[in-house]
């Protein structure tokens, strides 16, 4: 069973969310979903929704929601930054504390792509006690991720003008000087850019001592993780996932990728 609702975040903006109920309402484990951004959010929306349903069927509460400025939540995309997203996670915990009236609730965070990196930054702050952290293809270096994302603007320039008028460096300078840059309809601003530049997943993970499951389906990330000693500690489980679905295009439509669903669920159940 699921309930659709708008909740208020800490600055009074409405966030759209879906609360998935477990059959046993006495359950004490909750998963908060931290979604990807840009087109990756749209393309994985159904997959994450189905995973939330699977978790609820297996006895977990789940709350998945749209960050401010994304999906059906209030605000413009350009207003949202890394910090506003982290603050939204706190707002969701506030809401869940009042909604699930039980003692000793364990809050777990599930994140995908940039949402996973944001989840790790949130967990690292340790202001809320987190039980477990589950990540699917976290973005290792958000600054590099945004830099690559600018490709959409370059392609559009080629389409419209048949040549590049502003190269990647020009676009970065524009953003840094406070001008907005449009990439496939998403407006990237200074705040998001600068905050992303200060993030690094491996640095965050170094400080995380809770059980952590990381599923990797992207080739380059697998290599980077392989070389990173900090993620080979006992609290980390790395899963070498096949590409059952893609974040950036539809090609093979698979709204319920079985392998990653099973592996993740098994790990969660084993780490109750």
């Amino acid at each position: 069973m699921e309930e659709f609702k708008f909740i208020n975040n800490r600055v009074g903006k409405k966030l759209y969310g879906v609360l998935h109920f477990p059959a046993n309402r006495e359950s004490k484990e909750v998963f908060v979903f931290s979604s990807p951004t840009f087109g990756e959010k749209t393309k994985s929306y159904r997959v994450l929704g189905n995973f939330a349903r699977l978790l609820a069927l297996n006895g977990y509460w789940v709350f998945r929601f749209d960050f401010m400025g994304e999906g059906d939540s209030e605000g413009d995309f350009k207003e949202a930054s890394i910090r506003t997203r982290i603050e939204d996670l706190y707002s969701v915990i506030d809401y869940l504390q009042s909604e699930i009236k039980q003692q000793d609730i364990v809050y777990n965070i599930f994140g995908a792509r940039l949402g996973a990196t944001i989840a790790s930054a949130f967990a690292r702050e340790k202001l809320v006690k987190i039980g477990k952290l589950v990540m699917w293809d976290p973005v290792i270096d958000p600054a590099q991720y945004l830099l690559e994302f600018l490709r959409g603007n370059l392609s559009n320039q080629l389409l419209i003008h048949r040549k590049i008028l502003l190269n990647r460096e020009d676009l970065v300078n524009q953003i840094k000087s406070g001008l907005e840059v449009n990439v496939d309809g998403w407006i990237v601003g200074k705040e998001l850019w600068e905050q992303a530049a200060t993030m690094n997943l491996f640095v965050d993970l170094e400080r995380i001592t809770i059980p952590c499951f990381i599923s990797l389906s992207l080739g380059l990330d697998k290599k980077l993780f392989g070389a990173e000693k900090n993620v080979h500690r006992s609290n980390f489980t790395l899963f070498n996932a096949p590409q059952e679905f893609t974040w950036s295009d539809w090609k093979n439509y698979n709204p319920s990728p079985e392998i990653i669903f099973d592996k993740t669920l098994n790990w969660i159940n084993e780490n109750k």
Binding site: F6, G39, D72, R162, D184, G185, W250, N252
Partner: protein, 316 residues
């Protein structure tokens, strides 16, 4: 402006989820617009375009509903996993029509609407046409960048003639560049892209000649049998369009100038069937310059709003 989460069931009793935007100052006639999802994108559409359009339309006094069809977003049901082309083709043939008809009836009754319009982007534009041709409650359609051909594996795997032309024009710009020639002779150019583009354009040239010959004898695409000669043309859409127009209702076509779908629409529909006098009173065609299929630029989104607003005023 207020937003409300709504749910209603489709004919298979699957729960569909949507967001209704309620205007602060509703138009006294009580008009509503339903925004239809694009392909397998959920109700927000590309870069939240439907969210922006819903806000704009509600400020203009319209009640707005954007909802997820079955198997999409938060709605119940599941589309068959597999090749996306099969799903696109199913949508282009009317997979979401029954859900849309349910949405029309639900929305009309809930808000006591006197006039209801459908607005669809890409595949949603086709859904709008099919649904409106079946139910008289729809007052008008805003069709944005809907494809006139059906998706197929062959078409997705091969370069589109419009894209090939675009690629070659990009290379044309480099013809006087010394560095570009240096790259070409040093093996750094993308020969495969150039070769595929040239091959596609040559094939397209031969095909156009064939189409011209076909047009010369058949005049237009009125005859269904003959329509089949047009490679991958969506006959169901054309039939629905004819039915819809026969009822005297209006349609606004909006396309982006930098879009392969526009090129096809112009060639196979605008310059053929839509030339007929009897359809001229039914439709208005607008093209937005310097923008792509998803209307990513802010300017194009603003133009889109102006065109929609003007059309509503003209057809009040």
């Amino acid at each position: 402006m207020m937003e409300e989460i709504v749910t209603f069931n489709n004919k298979d009793n699957l729960r569909l989820v949507g967001i209704e935007t309620i205007p602060v100052a509703p138009n006294p006639v009580r008009k509503g617009v339903i925004l239809l999802n694009t392909g397998v994108n959920y109700r927000i559409a590309w870069h939240r375009l439907n969210v922006k359009l819903a806000k704009f339309l509600s400020e203009e006094g319209f009640f707005v509903l954007r909802f997820d069809t079955h198997g999409i977003g938060d709605s119940e049901g599941e589309l068959k996993r597999g090749n996306i082309v099969d799903i696109f083709e199913a949508i282009q043939k009317g997979l979401f029509v029954d859900d849309t008809i349910k949405a029309i009836k639900y929305f009309k009754e809930k808000e006591k609407l006197n006039k209801i319009y459908l607005l669809g982007l890409c595949g949603g534009a086709l859904t709008a046409m099919y649904a409106a041709s079946k139910v008289r409650e729809v007052e008008g359609i805003i069709h944005i960048a809907g494809p006139i051909t059906l998706s197929s594996e062959h078409h997705l795997e091969n370069k589109h003639p419009w894209e090939a032309r675009n690629t070659l024009l990009q290379y044309g710009h480099k013809i006087i560049s010394f560095n570009a020639w240096l790259r070409f002779f040093s093996g750094a150019s993308e020969y495969k892209t150039i070769h595929t583009s040239l091959k596609t354009l040559f094939g397209s040239f031969l095909r156009t000649k064939r189409l011209k010959k076909f047009s010369k004898f058949k005049k237009d695409v009125e005859n269904e049998q003959d329509n089949k000669s047009w490679d991958n043309l969506n006959i169901d859409f054309i039939e629905s369009f004819k039915n819809y127009c026969a009822s005297g209702r209006k349609i606004l076509f909006i396309f982006a100038d930098k879009d392969a779908a526009t090129w096809e629409f112009r060639t196979m529909f605008l310059n053929t069937l839509l030339k007929k006098e009897k359809y001229k009173k039914n439709y208005k065609y607008s093209e937005i310059n310097d923008t792509n299929h998803i209307f990513s630029s802010t300017t194009s989104q603003e133009t889109l709003k102006v065109l929609i607003k003007t059309w509503f005023i003209d057809n009040a």
